[in-house]
């Protein structure tokens, strides 16, 4: 078990190494632009040369990458070329913002999707049509529209919730809750539309399996069949969908962060890319790969717990 986890983490590290190398090589094409942007409109060739040298961009790309890697091994992701803020702590801080939206959103999405999906799958008929209709509405109505309406009603008019910005949980839990409410709702609507349909489909499949019939012939109660047996077996595949949903939410969160002016991971990545802030892009990439590795590992471990066949011995 431990060996397996270590092996997976090792594979994740190799992956991070490769991805960062590729990213670095691709970014190296624009190093010159970064220097020019930094120096502004009236840069002289001398100052460009001096800056290039100072930033180490005059060295061979692989040497630069190696240097970056050595610093990384010492836990140093460097500093932003524009703001000079240390990249590591900044990414962590930004990630905390995004996760504090995504994690609650994901938990609510799971609860709602399971309730809705199971309800649709076990009731059929009108219930099923209602659930499917809700999913469809979730698909068609853009999350942004919902966000706008909520902001207008709850923030601008009623002044119950903030229209923009983020308060860390540690600063003020109540304000934190207020600041994440609308973003979470928007993410949940998109997430439930997808997840509930998945849960429903899985549950329908499970409820038609042979073992369900056999359990029924033994007089096992409907509740136990639905919850203990069918749902549990449906959970494995649903979990995989969930992990993809989690990764996807980082994309949706990016748009939300922009609209609500939240200092999150996505907008950090976005702005760094716009500016070509190489150390920041690299830091974001490292964290991104590690995050995905951890999520996938977590999914596999949870899957092993749910599914004895996939369990490791």
């Amino acid at each position: 078990m431990l060996a397996y986890v270590l092996r997976r983490i090792g594979a994740g590290l190799v992956l991070a190494l490769l991805v960062t190398l590729v990213t670095f090589l691709m970014l190296s094409l624009s190093f010159g632009d970064v220097v020019r942007t930094l120096l502004g409109q009236s840069a002289t060739p001398e100052s460009v040369a001096a800056m290039t040298k100072q930033m180490g961009y005059d060295r061979p790309v692989l040497v630069q990458y190696g240097d970056w890697l050595l610093h990384l091994l010492r836990g140093d992701l460097g500093t932003s070329v524009y703001t000079s803020l240390p990249v590591g702590p900044s990414v962590v801080q930004r990630l905390a913002v995004t996760l504090s939206i995504i994690v609650p959103a994901l938990l609510i999405t799971v609860l709602l999707s399971i309730s809705l999906g199971v309800w649709a799958a076990t009731r059929g008929g009108v219930a099923d049509r209602i659930a499917q209709g809700l999913s469809l509405v979730g698909y068609i109505v853009p999350g942004l529209l919902i966000a706008i309406v909520l902001v207008y009603l709850l923030a601008v008019r009623a002044k119950l919730l903030p229209a923009t910005g983020y308060t860390p949980l540690s600063t003020d839990p109540a304000a934190w809750l207020h600041s994440i409410t609308i973003p979470v709702i928007v993410l949940v609507i998109g997430g439930v539309a997808n997840m509930a349909a998945q849960v429903r489909g899985r549950m329908i499949d499970e409820l038609r399996r042979d073992y369900v019939r056999t359990l029924r012939t033994r007089g096992v109660s409907t509740t136990s069949i639905v919850v203990r047996h069918a749902l549990r077996n449906a959970a494995g595949p649903a979990l995989t969908v969930l992990s993809l949903e989690f990764i996807q939410m980082f994309g949706s969160a990016l748009i939300i962060e922009n609209v609500f002016a939240l200092p999150g991971y996505g907008s950090y990545a976005f702005n760094a890319s716009l500016q070509g802030d190489i150390p920041v892009i690299m830091g974001i990439t490292v964290f991104g790969v590690l995050l995905v590795t951890v999520v996938n590992l977590g999914t596999d471990l949870a899957n092993g717990w749910l599914n004895p066949k996939a369990r490791l011995h």
Partner: protein, 580 residues
């Protein structure tokens, strides 16, 4: 070819497929006709028309913040979306299919490498990666979609690889016999036909993803403003939200319509190409009955189970109902063993399910009665049936593995059954199950008790299921082909076990089988079923020695000829799944 035409015809009959495909076709046509429909180019700006309201002459939906015709931009945005979908999906298909063929066809090492590569690709968070690569792509949406296509390819890769692996494995078996044709040619031909369906389905979803991603990026402002796109229009509308909310609404709704249509079309294609997805049914409702004129109940029958005039129907694909059991009648006395014999699809399993009250949700009992110990079972709710199940009537299925919940240990499943049927304490149920496992010929009951189903052999699993069925000393045991899925040596042992248990517990057994040997071995009586009807019943010896019905004779001859092990179902007799 005929299957393809049939598929098309079925698609054309599916309203969901027709409506969504129709919507998409209309939208694409609007996009293609944009230059003729719109009076203005998508980037033509008239400063006098800034934020003109909808309905302004020449500006059907008004004009945006730069005085550009929203209607025209909307139509041209369709083309951008279409190009995005084509590039993204095209790349995903090209990369995914090629790699899938390679990964599936070549040896394990090649597969390992492609597998690793695609796992790697799959771990990239798509939108973020596209943004990180902005300095490289320059924001050109076509370039971006090219990369996105690669990010989408793992899904296609997996589908193709699995199908190729499946086809290839089958081929090795065949190839031993049929030498001559090159593997590659067979593979190619097989794969093409197998892969087509899943890929068409995946394509619909991939297109939706590509369009959504392109819009998301354009919304964030990545890429050229000269390219009209929904994302850019939504972004512009969002900026102008307080001035002209409709500018935000039009592109949002059209984009929503397109993506939703693609998802729904994908679902409809899946239903048609991969067989209709079952609709959910109300759980715990009991099997459906639509009995208007049942036979008058027979008072004081001595039989344990008496089935009369039982008719079970399934809805056919066209809505018409097809009867899989027609007027079946049979009777079992206490302690008696009845063999219900017939070919696959003859309706014997359906009859057994009807007795247990576990017919699939689509099935309807349209006529007849099932009387158990003087009580009419037809029309009972699931709740009313439950006390009978397990305690009075028990069931041993055909395929041992799929009838155990893979997530729970064997012991826990059996204990739950015993407690549901008898309401005993957990400890007592456990003692009882352990004893029964021993009685059913399991060498190390505690170990089996603590095993997961996948850790057992087929024979062991069947013993477990039998133990589960007899744990509550039922009066009637329904065994549905209990030995069919097992090795020949194990078959005999299981039959012995059933015979012993029957004698020991004094229960009646309804043995569903297609095997006359099994019937001869352990049954007192026999009922022969063909095409949903019971054609002959009687004492085993009598029927075997002197079959009166033509069909029984044919069946018996088939066994004696030793040419046919198991005949195919009679053509057109039965709907899919009715034999389960």
């Amino acid at each position: 070819m005929s299957t393809r035409t049939r598929t098309w015809r079925r698609l054309l009959r599916d309203p969901q497929a027709v409506v969504t495909a129709g919507i998409l076709l209309v939208i694409v046509a609007l996009g293609l006709l944009a230059p003729f429909l719109a009076q203005h180019g998508p980037n033509d700006s008239d400063l006098g028309m800034v934020n003109a309201p909808a309905g302004t002459p020449g500006y059907l939906l008004g004009a945006d913040e730069s005085g550009r015709d929203i209607f025209s931009r909307l139509l041209h945005s369709i083309n951008t979306s279409a190009v995005s979908a084509l590039i993204g999906t095209g790349v995903a298909l090209a990369v995914g299919v090629t790699a899938g063929l390679v990964g599936g066809y070549f040896g394990a090492r090649t597969r390992g490498a492609t597998e690793w590569l695609f796992n790697l690709v799959m771990t990239f968070p798509g939108l973020l990666l596209l943004i990180i690569l902005m300095p490289v792509t320059g924001g050109d949406y076509r370039f971006t979609m090219l990369i996105f296509g690669v990010l989408l390819s793992p899904g296609i890769y997996r589908i193709v690889r699995n199908l190729v692996l499946g086809v290839k494995n089958e081929l090795y078996v065949d190839a031993a016999r049929v030498s001559g044709l090159g593997n590659t040619r067979i593979l190619g031909r097989h794969v093409l036909s197998v892969v087509r369906g899943p890929i068409i389905i995946a394509t619909a979803f991939l297109m939706g993803a590509a369009i959504a991603t392109q819009s998301g990026l354009a919304f964030l402002g990545v890429g050229s403003k000269e390219i009209p796109s929904f994302g850019d229009m939504i972004s512009s509308g969002f900026r102008n939200l307080y001035l002209a909310p409709a500018q935000f609404l039009w592109p949002s709704l059209l984009l929503g319509l397109i993506t939703a249509s693609l998802v729904l079309l994908g679902n409809a294609l899946r239903d048609t190409l991969e067989g209709s997805r079952p609709k959910p049914a109300k759980v715990g409702q009991g099997q459906r009955t639509d009995v208007r004129t049942g036979p008058a109940p027979v008072a004081g029958t001595a039989a344990l189970l008496e089935i009369r005039d039982l008719t079970i129907a399934y809805p056919g694909p066209g809505g018409e109902s097809r009867e899989v059991v027609r007027g079946a009648a049979l009777r079992i006395d206490r302690g008696q063993t009845l063999g219900l014999v017939g070919e696959s699809g003859s309706g014997k399993t359906q009859t057994a399910f009807a007795v247990l009250g576990v017919l699939p949700a689509e099935a309807v009992i349209t006529r007849g009665s099932i009387v158990f110990e003087g009580r009419e079972l037809v029309g009972l709710t699931d709740g009313e049936m439950r006390p009978l199940r397990g305690k009075q009537i028990a069931y041993v299925p055909q395929e041992p593995m799929s009838n155990l919940d893979p997530s729970y240990k064997v012991g826990a499943q059996l204990v739950e059954g015993v407690r549901s049927a008898l309401g005993v304490s957990k400890q007592e149920a456990r003692t009882r199950v352990l004893a029964l496992l021993g009685r059913c010929g399991i060498a190390d009951p505690p170990r089996t008790f603590d095993s997961y189903p996948h850790q057992l052999s087929g024979g062991m699993a069947q013993r477990v299921l039998i133990a589960g069925a007899v744990a509550s000393r039922p009066k009637l045991l329904i065994a549905d082909e209990p030995t069919t899925a097992l090795d020949v040596t194990v078959q005999a042992e299981i039959l012995d076990l059933l015979r012993d248990l029957q004698a020991e517990l004094g229960m009646a057994v309804l043995l569903v089988t297609h095997n006359f040997g099994v019937v001869a071995d352990i049954c007192d009586h026999i009922a022969v079923m063909s095409r949903g009807e019971i054609v002959e019943t009687g004492d085993v010896q009598k029927v075997l020695n002197d079959p009166r019905h033509e069909y029984t004779r044919t069946l018996l001859d088939a066994i004696l000829d030793d040419t046919t092990v198991r005949t195919d179902p009679p053509p057109g007799a039965i709907t899919e799944g009715a034999d389960r």
